[in-house]
């Protein structure tokens, strides 16, 4: 009854206890996340070549060069990831809504059925799309019959295939947060909106959707962030003319061994995403994601 202000729990034990609990994990994050990012930062400012070796020279030109050489890939990363996120939201929202409000006692089962396909390896799923979208496949045939695709037109090796692949692969990251926030929503609030003269559409946009915002924000972030760094879908379903920043980083790092450019691109991608996420979260007004 009485307001009990926040207090130390009975199990808090001694004052050093929290630090002992935090230390191993934070040490791991510090050693293998913070230090690498700093190393990457320093690598991005080095010059030289793989044969002569690399030296740290504050070479900011790596950034300007990388950006002017790869702005198309950079733009595509953001565009494809944005499109895929939007599509995933449109596909998953009704699905999550259906499971949360219509599946009754089969909620958990339905959720399981939706998530289960994603336990088939990411790569195997993507290869499977390659078969489905193949030039001789029934999807291309159907699109041609419907006139959505000219005779001889292709789906595979186009931006369409890449965006479709990305959208597909990150669906569970959208569905689960949406479901969680919709499931928590008190259905009587929607009824109350109805009672107060809101039609189904108004009730949805004025009550249901705003209240599911935490799920929408979490879902879009969890989809957008990995999508922007993805390069697997382009490799399997696209061609070099659809390549994204991930493909460039991958080849610069692992094939060309041009570490400074690759590092500069990685850092640029990371900061762009951090800034976009920061703006988005502030805009959406949900800052307590973690």
């Amino acid at each position: 009854m009485s307001p009990v202000p926040p207090r130390r729990g009975l199990l808090s034990g001694t004052a050093w206890m929290p630090y002992a609990l935090l230390l191993p994990g934070l040490l791991w994050l510090g050693l293998f996340f913070v230090t690498p990012i700093l190393t990457l930062l320093s690598t991005s400012l080095q010059e030289g070549s793989i044969s002569t070796g690399y030296r740290f020279t504050w070479r900011f030109a790596n950034y300007t060069n990388a950006f002017s050489d790869y702005q198309a890939q950079f733009g595509r990363s953001i565009l494809y990831a944005g499109l895929a996120t939007l599509l995933a939201l449109v596909i998953c929202y009704p699905l999550a809504y259906f499971i949360a409000f219509r599946a009754g006692r089969y909620k958990n089962l339905m959720l399981l059925i939706v998530v289960a396909p994603f336990f088939t390896s990411f790569l195997i799923r993507t290869l499977s799309w390659k078969i489905i979208l193949a030039d001789s496949g029934w999807v291309v045939g159907m699109f041609q019959t419907l006139g959505l695709l000219p005779p001889g037109g292709r789906l595979l090796a186009t931006s369409f295939a890449v965006v479709a692949g990305i959208t597909y692969n990150f669906l569970p990251f959208m569905t689960l947060p949406l479901y969680t926030s919709l499931e928590r929503l008190d259905a009587s609030l929607i009824e109350a909106a109805g009672d107060l003269y809101a039609g189904p559409v108004t009730a949805f946009f004025k009550v249901t959707f705003p209240l599911s915002m935490p799920g929408v924000v979490a879902g879009t972030l969890l989809t957008f962030i990995p999508a922007a760094g993805d390069y697997i879908n382009v490799r399997f379903l696209g061609t070099p003319s659809q390549s994204m920043l991930g493909n460039v980083i991958d080849s610069r790092f692992l094939a060309v061994l041009d570490y400074p450019t690759a590092a500069a691109l990685s850092i640029t991608l990371m900061f762009t995403i951090l800034v976009l996420v920061g703006l988005y979260v502030r805009r959406a007004g949900t800052e307590d994601l973690v």
Binding site: M1, S2, P3, V4, P5, R7, L10
Partner: protein, 383 residues
């Protein structure tokens, strides 16, 4: 520790207990939840701490349980200092507000929890007997989630009582039950208390619940004990304006002491002379509130004879509401103060219409007085 303290009901003594949250006394955000409380709960009694939310009653209880560390002060159990003992080293058990039943354990294991920790014998037999006492025999294998609110409440009670605590603490134990079940559980708790004869300390904000069940009630406000007395004394002779309004309804009139006449105190209020037992005078101050309960007021037509020695006032009816057993009238005095009158439905008088001039009279023995600190309206707004 437990061994030498264990035994039947114990006397609980609290001295100069203070609990401050949020830093030092100087800190701007410091909040004093319990402000220097001292009280004694006799062994075997049913003691209630009554007050509005935030009055410090739950914090006091939690300090007795050991769930909160006092800032200063002492807690004694049969003379033994338990102030700084861990909760698991105190012969005290708690029935939590929301029951706090372990959801992963059966009813049986919930009740057996304390006995198992103490490595006691005959657990199975004792748990069965305890479940019988709370009328839950046969429910041992169920999970708490499969029980109704009332049944969960009984499990919480059984889980605490089975450890034969010297003091049983009840934190708003009936708060989550509906009215009918609450009344039933009040009687049940009384029965169980008389059967196990343990000291019960009961925290509640429901004045009716405290009055029905407790032998002694401490009315609390702003972290202090406002008055500590039996239910009858609290009702008939409230010590403060707050108590007078928190327990039932009171009519409080601003008065000034003018003298004494034998055992009676003479008071003048807005030009009307009133009398009350001098023993009821709260302090030496001349300014005070004279109080009388609405059901003690007799209402007659103007000019009707007033019994000898009774206090009397003239007023006008401004409102009435018929409530079956009685009718509640609001009347206005010549100095524009509204008073409440409960007229019992004896079937003799008809309803008095609005605007009717009436005369109120009452026995001076039914008159109490409280100190004039703050306005009575202020304390009323708090409720």
């Amino acid at each position: 520790m437990k061994g030498n303290l264990a035994g039947p009901a114990a006397e609980l003594r609290i001295t100069n207990l203070v609990k401050r949250f949020g830093g030092s006394a100087m800190a701007a955000n410091a909040f004093v939840a319990v402000d220097n409380i001292s009280l004694t709960v006799p062994a075997g009694s049913f003691f209630a701490m009554l007050g509005p939310s935030g009055c410090g009653k739950t914090t006091t209880l939690r300090m007795v349980a050991g769930l909160e560390q006092p800032t200063s002060g002492e807690i004694l159990l049969n003379g033994n200092d338990i102030t700084h003992l861990k909760p698991y080293n105190r012969p005290v058990n708690t029935v939590f507000q929301s029951y706090a039943l372990f959801p992963h354990l059966t009813v049986f294991e919930n009740v057996a929890f304390g006995l198992r920790r103490k490595n006691e014998q005959n657990i199975s037999k004792r748990v069965d007997a305890m479940l019988e006492l709370v009328q839950l025999d046969g429910y041992g294998a169920r999970r708490p989630a499969q029980l109704s609110g009332g049944q969960q409440q009984r499990v919480a009670l059984a889980r605490a009582l089975i450890n034969a605590p010297q003091v049983l603490l009840l934190d708003e134990p009936l708060g989550a039950l509906d009215l009918k079940l609450r009344r039933q559980m009040q009687l049940e708790l009384k029965r169980i208390q008389s059967e196990v004869s343990t000291t019960f300390v009961h925290v509640t904000h429901d004045q009716e619940e405290a009055m029905t069940m407790a032998d002694t009630i401490a009315v609390m406000r702003h972290g202090r004990v406002e008055q500590l007395a039996s239910p009858i004394d609290l009702y008939e002779r409230p010590a403060t304006a707050f108590v007078a309004n928190f327990l039932g309804k009171s009519n409080l009139l601003e008065g000034r002491v003018t003298g004494t006449a034998g055992a009676m105190l003479l008071v003048e209020t807005h030009g009307v002379a009133l009398r009350l037992p001098a023993a009821n005078r709260p302090a030496a101050a001349a300014e005070l509130y004279v109080g009388v309960r609405p059901e003690k007021l007799h209402m007659t037509g103007t000019g009707a004879p007033v019994p000898a020695g009774h206090n009397a006032l003239e007023a006008t009816v401004t409102d009435s509401s018929f409530m079956g057993v009685s009718t509640q009238y609001v009347v206005r005095t010549a100095w524009q103060q509204e008073l409440t009158v409960f007229a019992q439905n004896m079937g003799v008088d008809g309803m008095r219409a609005r605007g009717t001039a009436v005369q109120l009279h009452w026995d001076p023995q039914h008159t109490f007085a409280v100190p004039r600190t703050g306005s009575p309206l202020e304390t009323e707004a708090e409720l």
